[in-house]
Amino acid sequence: MEPLSNTLSPVAAPADSTTRKLSVQAFEELFLSTYPRVVALLRRMLGDSGRAEEIANEAFLKLYNTTLPPSVRANIPGWLYRTAMNLGIDDLRARTRHTQVAQAASQAVSSSAQPENGLQRVLRSETQQRVRLALSKLKPEWSQILLLRASGYSYKEIASHLEVSAASVGTLLIRAEAGFEKCYLELFGEKD
């Protein structure tokens, strides 16, 4: 890795116009603190650990290679989360087009040593496919907030990662949930 002289805090990097990229140290700190959570988020989205790690790596590679504008440098983890989720959504869309979601979902379930019976497994797999299909169709902003919330992120974290005001997270969630239900209903014709 090329040595870079400027050191930034990975959490709240100062908007210094002379600083082009993260320092190696800041990059590595951010990688170590963020990678497992990003992978977990992508695994939930994609149902495939290998692919989740690939996409997380892609997001970090983007961060490593990109000259970030000052507006982004103030909240690099947020940029990283959004970039990773957008790459995940694109991946879901691509898979949806190739109707591989079903296969991936069933593989993910069958490869896990879950104490589920056959029927439970089938139902769960079907719901997974449907949720992922809906996630691929929704506005990316909605998919992002629903995934963060379902992954247990606090309102404060959601506000920071999505760069929205903390006092609007609840409203955004309500919109996203309504959008998700509408999309789900249109796709599969059932509400419950």
Partner: protein
């Protein structure tokens, strides 16, 4: 107390409020006829959605990610990819971005600096840049020209680009007295027309560099405003950083050219005499454009063509036929009366004839070709018959 906001009720459900806020909402719920129902509605929706998302929870057996090992792998991949590929090839690899040798935008930009009246023409051509060959595409901008409602999205786009762009280099134009001085100023040998006896003026366009971070939702808004919400931009576009470096370029100007960028405000001079017709030779090294490796240029180009009225099948066919990383794509608008492919010392060029009734002071022809990663443009007023011969004679 007024009824709590949607945010407050939703946060109440998720236990994201502090104790005083919780107490206030509890108290309000007892007395308000409407809010218990609101709460129930939000809560039921949240529960239904949460239960669906619960199906995505990772199985307990899912391996914990070890960040140290992952970082070691990341670094190994990084150095491997940097060492394996020779430097030159690396420049062209997606990871290092690619060198877009020629930029139609840059040529049009230069043209527009020289002929201010064509500026609006230039502003429409935002994204297609290329190098090794020239490919024309006929676009009918008529609808965009005439309907002010269609212009709005373009203005929104221009506004977004100007707001988000961070300019790092912005040199002013300058002049040079001689060919040698011009060559020194731009850093490459400036070529001249050997058969012209009048001495040309050498103008140097300054180097420019900027980067901007794309905002997908605002770009999508532009498409929505253009009446095409069906065109969906890839999500990975959001936050993608595009950086553009435009090296110094030279313009060699012969004869007396009307409205050639001198902001004297005077009325146009009389027609150039046949002895010294106006001719401008633009010589611009190809700009460097860095875009994220996963940005699908072809997809964006398809969207762009559909935006200007192509049907999806046409757009896809055209986009698949063009190598977007190495071709100078020259949109032919309705200002172009005719265009033809010509041969300049074995290199394919495109000669365009303009018909621009509103802009008699603009160029009447432009010949564009790419040689050795340098974009050449021969632009003139008047007769174009000798354009190819002149271009071939450049020294």
């Amino acid at each position: 107390m007024n009824c709590p906001t949607e945010h407050a009720l939703r946060a109440y459900i998720d236990n994201e409020l502090d104790p005083t806020e919780i107490a206030a909402i509890k108290e309000h719920l007892v007395s308000c006829p409407a809010c218990p129902l609101r709460l129930e509605t939000f809560s039921a929706a949240a529960l239904r959605v949460a239960s669906r998302f619960h199906s995505l929870d990772a199985p307990p057996s899912a391996a914990e990610t070890n960040p140290q090992a992952a970082l070691a792998r990341f670094k190994a991949n990084l150095s491997a990819s940097e060492e394996r590929v020779p430097f030159f090839a690396r420049l062209f690899s997606p990871r290092w971005r690619f060198v877009w040798a020629a930029s139609f935008a840059a040529v049009v930009l230069l043209v527009s600096l020289l002929f201010p009246a064509t500026r609006s023409f230039a502003q429409r051509l935002l994204a297609t840049l290329r190098v090794e060959r020239v490919q024309t595409v006929a676009l009918d901008f008529g609808a965009l020209d005439n309907a002010s409602s269609s212009r709005q999205p373009l203005e929104a786009l221009a506004k977004m680009l100007s707001e988000n762009a961070v300019v790092t280099i912005d040199e002013k134009p300058s002049s040079a007295a001689t060919q040698a001085a011009a060559s020194q100023a731009v850093g490459f040998p400036v070529r001249v027309l050997p058969n012209r006896t009048d001495s040309p003026a050498f103008k140097i366009a300054g180097a420019h560099a900027f980067h901007l971070s794309l905002d997908r939702s605002r770009l999508q808004d532009v498409l929505d405003q253009a009446g095409r919400p069906d065109l969906l931009l890839p999500a990975s576009l959001d936050g993608a950083t595009v950086s553009v470096q435009v090296p110094r370029a030279a313009a060699v100007k012969y004869g007396s050219c009307k409205h050639s960028g001198d902001s004297s405000g005077q009325a146009p001079a009389t027609s150039s005499t046949p002895a010294d017709p106006c001719l401008i030779v633009i010589q611009a090294p190809s700009p460097l454009i860095n875009v994220p490796s996963d940005l699908n240029i072809q997809q964006l180009a398809e969207i762009g063509l559909q935006l200007v009225g192509w049907n999806p099948v046409q757009a896809r066919q055209f986009c698949q036929s063009v190598d977007w990383r190495s071709t100078l794509v020259v949109p032919i608008s309705r200002n172009v009366q005719s265009y033809e492919t010509v041969n300049i010392n074995g290199i394919r060029g495109t000669l365009m004839q303009f018909s621009n009734p509103h802009n008699r002071t603009g160029p009447s022809f432009a010949l564009i070709w790419v040689d050795n990663a340098t974009i050449y443009g021969l632009i003139g007023q008047g007769d174009s018959t000798s354009a190819v011969q002149l271009a071939s004679s450049l020294q």
